[in-house]
């Protein structure tokens, strides 16, 4: 048995590994693992997130993006210099997560948007779209059934605190 990669393309780190293997032509058997059907918790559970929690989360996201721009990207082409590295893969796959949730984080940040274009070009636009197809469709998933919702409730309480 050759190399096997157990991945769920809904997961940010899984996408980073997937893109890395594919862009470098590393032969592997994909073993798809579906962790949770959909990361869109409010829609999924049919319950709204308290506005204060949402506001705090978005503020924190904003702060992190600012740090990413100011400390790591600065005036470089990529996060650690003039060439793409695994750091850019790990970062871009994380940032695509809020995008898939409808947060247009690149819209108001031209520096980050330009970096994203460079990363996409470096790995290949087709591969990038392919890796993100699953998570970008997450918004359109139907809400969970009652049994799934009950199972996820305790997890939600911790995550949303």
């Amino acid at each position: 048995m050759g190399l096997e990669l157990y991945l769920d393309l809904m997961s940010q780190p899984c996408r980073a590994v997937y893109i890395f293997a594919k862009t470098n032509g590393i032969p592997f058997e994909l073993r798809t693992v579906e962790l949770l059907k959909g990361m869109m918790f409010p829609v999924f559970l049919g319950e709204p997130v308290p506005p204060e929690t949402l506001a705090a989360t978005l503020a924190e996201l904003d702060r992190c993006l600012q740090l990413l721009e100011d400390k790591f990207l600065r005036n470089q082409a990529f996060l650690t210099g003039s060439h793409i590295s695994v750091a850019d893969l790990v970062a871009i796959t994380e940032l695509m997560h809020p995008v898939s949730a409808g947060c247009q984080i690149f819209e108001s940040r031209p520096k980050l948007a330009a970096w994203r274009q460079r990363v996409e070009a470096a790995v290949g636009k087709d591969l990038f779209q392919e890796a993100h197809a699953v998570v970008l469709k997450a918004k359109d998933l139907p809400p969970a059934d009652h049994a799934m919702r009950e199972k996820m409730r305790p997890l939600m309480q911790v995550l949303l605190k």
Binding site: L67, D70, K71, V158, K161
Partner: protein, 244 residues
Amino acid sequence: MGLELYLDLLSQPSRAVYIFAKKNGIPFELRTVEVLKGQHLSKEFFQVNSLHRVPVLKDGDFILTESVAILIYLSIKYQTADYWYPPDLQARARVHEYLGWHADCIRGTFGVSLWTRVVAPLIGAQVPEEKVKRNRAIMDQALQQLEDKFLGDRAFLTGQQLTLADLMALEELMQPVALGYDLFEGRPRLAAWRGRVEAFLGAELCQEAHSPILSILEQAAKKTLPVPPPEAYPNMLLRIAKIP
């Protein structure tokens, strides 16, 4: 100017860097940054690390943050013994496997009790008991995974030899111990592992590195801790608010 290490021995990753440098006889200038005094928020320190965090390494003009990056840099630059960061591909991958999980499941969680038991009372912040209980439950779960997946019946976390993984893990686990939760009690496998790591590092070095954090509760009781300056409050309150 030679190698400078900006550290606060109250900080778990700072201790890992300190112990590593000392154990390997790496010459450095210690630049103490006292987080309780808000020194990490000073304008001077901002020039060293705009993220206001320790540890930081300064090697001439090269400034490096993040304890894992610092440990790896030191191990390669000073050509420390192979076992710390093994050259064998799979052995090295195991170290990174542990450190990746550590970043998600140990970091953050094991440091909470310093904030709830010492910093919050010092600045008059309230932490709901529910959060303290939740933190304990999360730590217990992580310790179970640490024992079962990473330690198993091996001598050290990634195999039969000590690596950077063991050093990082020990310093995190010492934090709740210092803050009153003896997590080694009732966990003989982990206690035995701790014994092996400390014996390897040397009792004297461990004592030196651990003494500030081990005496923190006593200092708090005697009211001999520095009082954080008001400008440190927002940063500290934010950290406390982030406790799940």
